[in-house]
Amino acid sequence: MAEITLQDIIQPENLVYEKSKLLTEKPFHYCPGCGHGTVHRIIAEVLEELGVDDRTIGVSPVGCAVMAYDYFDVDFVEAAHGRAPACATGIKRVWPDKVVFSYQGDGDLAAIGTCETIHTCNRGENITMIFVNNGIYGMTGGQMAPTTLVGMKTATTPYGRMPQWPDGTPNNGFPLQITQLLAQLPGTRYVTRQAVFSAAAVRNCKKAIKKAFQNQIENKNGVNFVEIVSNCNSNWKMSAVDANKWLQDNMLPVYPLGDLKDNFELIKK
């Protein structure tokens, strides 16, 4: 039997997956199993499919995705911690015809940047906001996030997040339902919660992200907000497979998937 060479395999008819042209050659620095890489890929594919790469400006956060600009082949500005929505507002207001998106984690969007998040949504800026929620601070080494689940152990809640002490005294507070909160604001057009732990979830997530960009391109106002419930296997101290299982068992009951608001109308469940 003739030996099969690499050249025999690399043939157009054998192609099952192609990396988006809008992702650069730079290898991701994300931990294996992390959701960021998948979310990046989806965004790049969507921008490519929409053909807006030459008028897109991204805003990267502080957190694990701080260097997102290295991976996307579109113009990017790197924001201070929590300020990505303000940055996106600044750009969109002076360049209303550009496609502007922010990309943030839970600490960035829902703790230090809550003020910017709420007011950007409340003004109804015509932008797309991507929010990756894994319930923990990744880059700084696994501290409690506003979205950390009750009882979840982190570097700053080593005995588990305890909203109140047994005697009722306030302690770590409660998981912040920021996405529900934003859906209540009249300035948000489209609010959805997605995930990337399975192929089916990825497909749904891509549809949502595409819609969030299409809405921006077709309209003049209204924030398009996509939360992605994701994992942090490194700081959750689990294998990637276990982390995705844990996410489904523990995160999704608190942060259920699906659209919360469409075309400025709340979706009743």
Binding site: C87, G90, R93
Partner: protein, 361 residues
């Protein structure tokens, strides 16, 4: 010749922004500079020139809007007063690190903390020495009249884009709130997208297909590259220091003793010079217009010409005096005189301080 008007300093600053073709103002109200955003809102520049005016949710949000819109190549500005400028320091450090052009005004009030809403010059350190983190500088222009409030806006944008850095217009409650004659320039057109792309290839306008995408960031975890970036910034600041020092001298030709004062203090010290000259004292005034870069050489030249002493007159407990002392480097006497808490020194007490502290009996 433009249009002659009677305006508040804050209004002149706002009108000058519209007329020089600024693209956006992002701000947050604070006394004594709220007239800037009120005037802009009343003038509706969105209809006049397409300029965007947005009242942000905080000074933090406003400066970060400025940061990103400046990174996108637009002429953007903000303004605030002392405690608000503290909040903007985060964004200003990013602006310095990422080399984004912008103009911001600090209409200074007394501090520390909430302090007072009355005029002060106690933000000299905050603006000239850098209030944010890292080794950086902002160009600081100090208007001493309503006219200069208007003139320094287009000048500020020119310098900001020439050097890709922030330019501070360091004013105070007196200059911001007072009305004076001002001659306004003709309306200039805002730059078009094509002009911005041609003039500022670094600006984030959406990367052209087949070209490298652009990134505006202050982050680089590679130590060698970060060192080189810092060296590059310092070389740029050296260039600014070489080219952009501005100051005014009044009655300094034969002076033996010189007041050093900027902004509203300079106006008072100018009167002190007149009073002193009437008494036969050989006094003059050096008015720094750029507080960074500082007119260090001008002070040294005065010492070479025989000036024996300097009095730094400031509405603070003594901040600019440090730069005067550095310039003197022990070769001439220099001391500080100033009133604080919203009290403005009189020309008479300034002259008296010069006699007592510098000239001696």
């Amino acid at each position: 010749m433009g249009e002659l008007k009677l305006m508040k300093g804050n209004e002149a600053l706002a009108e000058a922004a519209i007329r020089c073709g600024a693209d956006a103002y992002f701000g947050y109200p604070i006394t004594p500079q709220s007239e800037v955003i009120e005037y802009l809102s009343e003038q509706n520049p969105y209809e006049r020139t397409g300029m965007v005016v947005l009242q942000a949710e905080s000074e933090l949000a406003a400066i970060n809007m400025v940061y990103a819109a400046g990174a996108a190549g637009k002429r953007v500005m903000t303004s605030s007063s002392s405690p608000g400028v503290c909040l903007k320091q985060e964004g200003l450090a990013y602006i310095a690190g990422a080399e984004v052009p912008c103009v911001f005004a600090d209409v200074v009030r007394g501090g520390p903390g909430l302090g007072t809403i009355q005029p002060s010059q106690a933000d000299y350190f905050q603006n000239t020495k850098g209030g944010g983190n890292g080794d950086y500088r902002n160009i600081v222009l100090a208007p001493a009249s309503v006219q200069e409030m208007a003139d320094f806006v287009p000048l500020g944008f020119e310098l900001a884009f020439k050097y890709r850095m922030a330019v501070c217009i360091l004013s105070d409650g007196a200059i911001g709130q007072m009305m004076e004659k001002v001659v306004l320039p003709e309306q200039k057109a805002r730059l078009t997208e094509e002009e911005i792309k041609a003039k500022y290839p670094w600006a984030l306008t959406g990367r052209k297909r087949g070209t490298q995408h652009r990134v505006i960031t202050s982050l680089d975890l590679d130590s060698a590259r970060m060192e080189e970036h810092n060296r590059h910034l310092q070389r740029k600041y050296d260039e600014v220091t070489k080219n952009e020092v501005r100051y005014e001298m009044i009655d300094c030709d034969d002076a033996e003793y010189v007041f050093v004062a900027y902004g509203s203090s300079a106006r008072i010290a100018q009167k002190s010079v007149q009073l002193g000259r009437a008494e036969g004292l050989k006094v003059g005034l050096l008015r720094p217009i750029t507080l960074w870069p500082y007119p260090t050489q001008a002070i040294r030249n005065l010492i070479d010409k025989g000036v024996k002493g300097f009095l730094s007159v400031e509405l603070s407990c003594g901040q600019m005096i440090e730069d005067v002392l550095l310039a003197c480097n022990g070769r001439a006497k220099a001391e500080h005189f100033g009133r604080v808490g919203g009290i403005i020194h009189t020309p008479e007490e300034v002259l008296e301080a010069m006699k007592k502290q510098i000239i001696g009996e």
